[in-house]
């Protein structure tokens, strides 16, 4: 009897001292470019992870299988280089014991990182536009952003039809990331009867493009394609093109660089630029996300950010449904099973089976915008088959 009462007292005390669920930590890694010309994209990814963590933690943590997890972010810089990305992913997986990574960013870093993350069953969310980033060989690689080879065909067709441009000039960085985007874009232009009459590779560190642009402009181009150049570079290209007296249309068939183009080249030079627009900046949810991001980071929000936030929303939801934060196979399967999932981008799905034999591409609508008075104005709404 005395023994029984002791047990009763101890269990009472335990139930009083412990909360209903115990607190644990869930670590989320960020592997992105946080210095140099790709920083705008890296901050977009890091921001998405930190805002998602902030949201979950402010509600007391992520509740999975009766436990509350406080989300912690560990971020490393890959300087847009494959070797640095490889070092960073090894640190994330082996030192920090992380199972979920927001990244890698560039195509060259992605190709270095994915074999390692796959072998260790680590779920990654990449920004890399290379078609090799999604494949049955990399079952844990997800891509929340829409890559060039999905949006270039419909966007280029729409823009070329509208402008009647036949002779296109372009400059692209002389590495895997730059070449991939340039190849996809050139094919898209050729399909609709336009050609790259002047295309020049350059080393990524270059900042003076005037000699190369002079060479390109001598070919009497109708329009200039900014390709997948990093945001800072895209800004410098626009500035120097306009300084050389080029008044024709400039087209951006690559990731979002609008804030940098406006900041570097200025409002006036940025007129008559047609850009791929990943999100609708006028939607109220997007306005609120942008406001939060810009208040926290004091830089203009890059439109890639909400895509990563949406992917993390799906990831957290999958963890809850699967009841685990460690079994990446279960989390992956649950995430892939979700359809019409409500996110900051609206309802999203997974696609990509036909193109890459991997259904791990986020599917969301995208837009073509023209820059006017320093802001993008949406002029066409697109899906992978057409813009209108």
């Amino acid at each position: 009897m005395r023994k029984l009462s002791k047990i009763a007292i101890v269990s009472c005390a335990l139930s009083l001292s412990l909360p209903a669920v115990s607190a644990e930590t869930l670590k989320l890694g960020v592997l992105a470019t946080l210095s140099g010309s790709g920083t705008a994209w890296g901050i977009a990814m890091q921001g998405a992870a930190e805002l998602a963590a902030e949201d979950v933690n402010s509600r007391g943590g992520l509740e999975v299988a009766g436990k509350k997890y406080t989300v912690e972010i560990t971020a490393y810089d890959d300087r847009y280089k494959a070797a640095d990305a490889l070092t960073a992913v090894n640190r994330l997986i082996f030192d920090d014991q992380i199972k979920f990574i927001v990244g890698p960013l560039g195509s060259a870093p992605a190709l270095a990182v994915l074999p390692v993350s796959t072998e260790n069953k680590v779920i990654t969310m990449t920004l890399a536009f290379t078609p090799k980033a999604l494949s049955p060989d990399f079952p844990y690689s997800f891509r929340p952003v829409i890559p060039t080879d999905v949006f270039s065909d419909p966007q280029v067709k729409w823009v070329v039809d509208k402008l009647g441009a036949k002779r296109i000039g372009t400059l692209y960085p002389n590495d895997e990331s730059g070449q991939q985007v340039s190849i996809a874009n050139e094919a898209a232009y050729n399909k609709v009867g336009a050609t790259f009459v002047a295309k020049e590779p350059f080393e990524r560190e270059r900042v003076d493009f005037v000699p190369l642009l002079t060479r390109v402009l001598a070919q009497k181009i109708d329009a200039f394609e900014l390709d997948g150049n990093a945001p800072q570079t895209a800004g410098l290209l626009v500035k120097q093109l306009r300084e050389l007296g080029f008044k024709g249309p400039i087209i951006r068939t690559g990731g979002d660089a609008t804030p940098d183009i406006l900041q570097i080249a200025g409002k006036e030079a940025a007129e008559n630029i047609y850009v791929h627009q990943a999100v609708d900046p006028a939607s109220p949810v997007m306005k609120e996300y942008t406001r939060r991001f810009e208040a926290k980071y004091k830089v203009p929000m890059n439109a890639f950010s909400p895509f990563f936030y949406a992917n993390i929303q799906a990831l957290f939801s999958a963890m809850k449904q699967a009841g685990t934060v460690t079994d990446t196979d279960k989390v992956r399967e649950t995430m892939l099973g979700m359809s019409n999932f409500a996110t900051v981008l609206g309802k999203v799905n997974w696609t990509g089976e036909a193109q890459w034999k991997s259904n791990q591409q986020l599917d969301a609508p995208f837009y073509v915008a023209v820059l006017k008075d320093g802001a993008p104005q949406i002029v066409a709404r697109c899906n992978p088959t057409e813009c209108k």
Partner: protein, 289 residues
Amino acid sequence: MEYAILLAQAALNGLVIGAMYVLMAVGFTLTFGIMRVVNFAHGEFYMLGAFTAFFTYVYWDIPFVLCLLIAAVTIGVLGALVERALIQPFRGDETSAMIATLAISVIIQNSAIVIWGPTPRQMPDIVQGTLLLGPFSFPWSRLLVIAAAALIFAAFWLFMQATRIGRAMRAVAQDKEAALIQGIRINTIYPLAFGLSVALAALAGALMGPVFSVSPFVGLTPMLKAFVVVILGGLGSIPGAVVGGLLLGLIESFTATMFGSLVADILQLLLVILILLVRPAGLLGQREV
């Protein structure tokens, strides 16, 4: 006609880049001529000049001429102090002095990364718009660099020819012992020459800041180019640095415009090798006795 536009555009851009190389190389060659030290940190003083101009122009909102002046004076004084503290102890030991400048370069660059971060910053244009002359278009921001560089070099030349300190510097460069006998204080001349040399680099950085961007890594390319220029023009020769700087800028611009950037890099380095083979002392340099 189109060819003429292309050539005019290439010439202007060549002069802009050339003007920057001249300012860099004149300072670089001055240190060598007077102190016999190859200053590996020269590019970092260019970077510090660019940052000084950036902060004073963006945050203090003062005329750009004042920003240039502040950059030249602060970086010049810093250079003189650095010479006194870190290079003077190695006087007469050129190899150790060179290694000291290499160390200074690493310290300055890494401190800049720690303090200002690695992200490039965009400096607003000093002048906006483009000068349109018929079919030719010349951005004002680039014309400004040429004009400012010419004025700065003229002032420097006048200083070297007409002032006591300038003459003393030239005397030390020509013959250190003879200058000592004439009563020239080498311990005063050396830090002054070093300060003047890095002030020129700082001015080059400050002028180029608005044209490109400002980051802790911007000094590397101008530094390498300064090397090429002094090899072209002759180590220690100031007229050689001017001729070499303009020549390299023009060659770089014309080859990149005509053949693309990859071929341009190859041609430049081939030229350097050729000059080293044919005229090892450089175009206007004198063979060391």
